[in-house]
């Protein structure tokens, strides 16, 4: 019996990991990235080759892809994003790790990526292709996005859950639009509009961008969808709108503002309340109670669970990195375009975690219950070993704090008409206390040509990490 006890202790000790969160364990990389020192951040990231094939393989690929994209190395960036995409396609649960995670913590499983992260990587990939003028390949990403969106919406049936991504529909519209497939562009824009109106306003208080109205009307005209055109013109209260073909070029400008939230950990203390063959895990402060049936367990096991008077369960939570800039404008010699909010990545991350918190909590409770049950069984055979295991259980109890942390907080965009030839454009970003930062760009465009540009401002306001 002692050998079995040793086995559990060795397993647990072997799987013991540091108590730092994912963000803290990558301090050097995060600091370099947040300061905009991209080449150093990339070197730090790539220095640890184990990450490329380890349990954080997905994060390694997407972080590489994102940084290389910021550095303008679009081909290399897309190689990493493709690896991340294939990882998502081929991902299969490793049941050995899953089982082991119930004796330690979920950080030892392979990180599979959040739903919105799998969509975002295709966004970056598609835009990289568009910047390189490879629209056919951007269309492939567009089709992949469509499949991902369908998988995503099929997963959740409840309309109060985040299950439809309006931003991705706008992106699909932009890609089809660029390919002059106005019919599909119209469908994508229309779907996006409907999602902004129904889901985004309710869930995130995010309204449809003004630009989307104009894109819907334009593509309806260009696809010959007269009834739809008239109906939207009336709905948008734009009675004078008329599409006019112009001999200009266009600029699609994406502004990535700030940084997405990071995951940290919090704990809930539970007490045990046993009634008959049921055990209730109960937290008075939060008013939550989880029943656990003891039917089928033998008396010794029932006693083991009955003896768990008090324990702590670690759960993940998001911590916002608030945006520094609250407004962005593109200033041309004769016009100013305000950058419209397309996607609040921060809120989407919070919502995604919130809607599966029940599952997270159930898994965490099962994990702690299993650890405790094993601990009590061993204690009955060898009190010292049982106590050591109890200590290890406390140390190893932690939440999964991994997420894609180099994503922006929010994404804004504008579609700008550029006269043929060279144009100077100023990006004006406004922060707290009217702190204005300006960036100058020069664009050379031919009539009918569409340019794509992404600008990332990595600044965030003060973050209370609470450590």
């Amino acid at each position: 019996m002692k050998s079995r006890a040793h086995f559990w202790i060795l397993i647990s000790a072997g799987l013991w990991v540091s108590c730092a969160t994912y963000y803290q364990s990558n301090q050097a990389f995060n600091q370099e990235f947040e300061q905009g020192n991209l080449s150093n951040a990339l070197s730090t990231l790539q220095a640890d080759g184990r990450e490329a094939k380890g349990k954080r393989e997905f994060l390694y690929y997407v972080n590489n892809g994102l940084i290389l994209s910021l550095m303008g190395k679009y081909d290399e960036s897309n190689e990493y994003f493709e690896k991340a995409f294939l990882f998502g396609e081929d991902y299969r649960k490793n049941y050995l790790n899953e089982a082991a995670s119930y004796l330690t913590n979920p950080m030892i499983t392979t990180y599979k990526g959040e739903d919105h992260e799998h969509l975002m990587l295709l966004y970056y990939k598609a835009v990289n292709f568009l910047k390189m003028g490879r629209s056919e390949e951007a269309l492939v990403e567009c089709r992949r996005l469509n499949i991902r969106l369908q998988q995503f919406s099929d997963r959740y049936e409840n309309e109060n859950k985040f299950q439809r991504d309006a931003f991705i529909h706008v992106l699909m519209g932009i890609i089809y639009d660029h390919d002059k497939d106005y019919n599909n562009a119209f469908i994508a824009y229309r779907n996006a509009w409907e999602i902004y109106e129904t889901d985004y306003e309710r869930l995130f208080r995010t309204h449809a961008p003004e630009q989307l109205k104009l894109d819907l009307l334009r593509t309806a005209t260009l696809s010959g969808l007269t009834e739809e055109f008239n109906s939207y013109k009336e709905k948008f209260n734009l009675p004078d709108y008329e599409y006019r073909s112009r001999d200009t070029g266009e600029l699609i400008f994406f502004w990535h503002n700030g940084l997405s939230p990071i995951k940290t950990e919090w704990g809930i203390n539970f007490v045990i309340d046993r009634r008959g063959d049921m055990v209730y895990f109960y937290n008075q402060e939060l008013g939550i109670s989880f029943p656990f049936s003891l039917q089928g367990y033998d008396d010794r096991e029932k006693n083991s669970l009955n003896n768990l008077e008090f324990f702590r369960v670690a759960l993940p939570r998001y911590l916002e990195r608030p945006q520094y800039y609250h407004q962005g404008n593109l200033i041309l010699p004769d016009t100013t375009y305000s950058l419209n909010l397309l996607e609040d990545v921060n809120q989407i991350a919070f919502k995604s975690l919130q809607q599966r918190m029940h599952l997270e909590l159930s898994k965490a409770l099962l994990r702690v219950a299993l650890k405790k049950a094993v601990e009590h069984q061993i204690k009955q055979e060898d009190r010292t070993l049982g106590s050591v295991l109890g200590m290890i259980n406390v140390i190893t109890e932690k939440a999964d704090t991994r997420n894609w942390q180099t994503l922006p907080h929010s994404i804004y965009y504008a579609r700008v008409a550029l006269p043929a030839g060279q144009t100077e454009v100023t990006l004006e970003l406004t922060g707290p206390g009217s702190d204005v930062h300006r960036h100058q760009f020069t664009y050379q465009v031919a009539p009918g040509q569409v340019l794509f540009h992404t600008f990332s401002s990595l600044e965030s306001r003060y973050v209370n990490f609470g450590y």
């Binding site: 049941y95 019919n183 229309r190 969808l225 049936s293 096991e301 299993l370 049950a373």
Partner: protein, 190 residues
């Protein structure tokens, strides 16, 4: 109920290998309820049978005194799904071509490529093998189409009715000489 340690042991033993099978393309498999390959095949089969047996199309060919030449125009998608009409249009084209009842000429995408290549030949190809300008075959008929869908949703149920209509229009007179229509209605329960 199983002991906790047994649950873990079971988890450790569970392993699933990915399986891939090649199956008959004609087999109907519906997963999500959205438009899929089976719908495209139904439309292609219905339209092909309709067109090849259509009396007005045959009468048109007789009056023309030669095989009608068809060019594929726009298939307008008014549904809320991104449906690739090429999936059934290409099948229709192949059936039409193989039947020998009509000729098909390139539509704009490939035609522009051909013209580009022909222009290059003028400068770089052996004069005896150069493709001549002004010898393209003009189409007599243009194929148009439209897809619409109506969706009714209640609780966990969804009913979608897809209506696909194709028509051939005379290039000179704007008269429609053939209509084909296929309706597919699906009830999806989640």
């Amino acid at each position: 109920m199983m002991r906790p340690t047994w649950v873990l042991a079971l988890l450790l033993l569970v392993s699933c290998a990915r399986t891939v099978n090649r199956i008959d393309p004609a087999q109907q498999i519906d997963l999500s309820g959205r438009w899929n390959d089976s719908d495209s095949r139904l439309v292609a089969e219905k339209m092909t049978t309709d067109l090849l047996s259509n009396a007005r199309f045959q009468e048109y060919a007789q009056q023309l005194g030669k095989k009608p030449v068809i060019i594929v125009g726009q298939i307008r998608n008014r549904t809320s799904e991104h449906i690739d009409a090429n999936a059934f249009i290409k099948k229709l084209e192949v059936a039409l071509f193989n039947s020998g009842r009509a000729d098909i000429v390139e539509s704009s995408t490939f035609r522009d490529k051909l013209r580009e290549e022909r222009a290059q030949q003028q400068d770089f190809a052996d004069p005896e093998t150069v493709a001549q300008w002004g010898k393209e075959t003009g189409a007599n008929l243009m194929l148009f189409g439209e897809m619409t869908s109506e969706t009714d949703v209640y609780n966990n149920q969804r009913v979608v009715n897809y209506l696909t209509t194709l028509f051939l229009t005379d290039m000179e007179t704007n008269k429609r000489i053939w209509y084909g229509q296929q309706e597919i209605k699906k009830q999806i329960k989640n």
